[in-house]
């Protein structure tokens, strides 16, 4: 009697479609990295130099970008029917938070904020739906734990982005004139014209320097 082999047609196809989680660059060990950060924080110059070199390599940044895309796909799958409106909202949030010329770190932190918002939104919507149907105290407590975790992650992401904007963005000085002096020209010109001319030339009025920091 001959045995017919079991068909394996579906397995390779499934393997092709499932996105692979990105791998960290060669030699990047999470524990070693944490130790390196601690040494650099303590003022170790060698550790700081090693960090600088690691940041200049594109590996970690691209892995983080791939992870962000994967996380977004998973969260949108969790969102179900809300995925389409959420997708639009994500794009809007990204535009608003990233600004004109974000650095690589700012872009990643914006991704983290945006995905944090999405994760929190998914939990909130699910909880609101369950509230309408009723649930036991244990299930309610489970939702509360999920909400707290998602809120914590979202707020931490916002705080990190604000911190980077405050500490790593170059300071911009904006000069605002405190008062405007209208000078009447000899020969009788309109006061308005003279004022416009005074505004466009070098300021002859006291100014106050205001820093955005």
């Amino acid at each position: 009697m001959t045995q017919t082999p079991r068909p394996r047609a579906t397995a390779p196809a499934a393997r092709r479609t499932a996105p692979r989680p990105p791998r960290l660059p060669e030699g990047h060990d999470e524990r070693a990295w944490t130790a390196l950060l601690a040494r650099a924080n303590a003022g170790d110059h060698q550790a700081l130099a090693a960090l600088r070199t690691a940041l200049e390599r594109a590996g970690l940044w691209s892995v983080a970008g791939d992870l962000a895309r994967l996380a977004e796909a998973t969260l949108l799958a969790q969102a179900g029917a809300l995925a389409a409106p959420c997708h639009e909202q994500l794009a809007r949030l990204r535009r608003e938070l990233a600004g004109e010329r974000p650095t690589a770190l700012e872009r990643l932190l914006v991704e983290r904020v945006v995905l944090g918002w999405l994760a929190l939104h998914v939990v909130e919507v699910s909880y609101a739906q369950q509230l309408g149907r009723g649930m036991s105290a244990a299930v309610d407590a489970g939702y509360q734990r999920r909400l707290t975790a998602a809120q914590g992650r979202y707020l931490a992401a916002i705080k990190a982005l604000a911190q980077v904007r405050r500490l790593l963005t170059p300071a911009v000085q904006v000069h605002i004139a405190q008062q405007q002096v209208v000078v009447q020209e000899a020969g009788g010109g309109e006061p308005g014209e003279a004022g416009a001319a005074a505004g466009s030339s070098a300021p002859a009025v006291p100014e106050r320097a205001m820093s955005t920091r």
Binding site: L37, V139, R146, V164
Partner: protein, 101 residues
């Protein structure tokens, strides 16, 4: 759990439960009281199934592993960038500009 038919005595409603590794069957009775007990048990089973499904839904709402990995990696890059820019974190709290030696 279920109904058992005995010759000449109609249908008996029984409940089974596990006690010390053994299955113990409890004879509840027959007639309208048994019917009520069976309905109450069915309702209880349904409620437990709903709760199981709800617990499963809550478990599914945990942050996906990709998001957890992203969180860790972005925070590492964030700390590294601030350290390289000349800051240090004081007592796991505020970031301060490092004083030049």
């Amino acid at each position: 759990m279920g109904w058992e038919t005995r010759r000449g005595r109609g249908r008996y409603y029984t409940r089974s439960r596990r006690e010390g590794g053994r299955v113990v069957r409890e004879y509840v009775g027959t007639g309208p009281i048994a019917e009520l007990a069976a309905q109450a048990d069915a309702l209880h089973r349904q409620l437990r199934a709903v709760e199981r499904a709800q617990r499963q839904a809550v478990r599914m709402l945990a942050a996906p592993p990709e998001l957890q990995r992203l969180d860790r990696l972005v925070m590492e890059l964030y700390r590294a960038s601030l350290l390289v820019a000349g800051y240090h974190q004081h007592a796991r709290g505020a970031w301060r500009r490092r004083r030049p030696r």
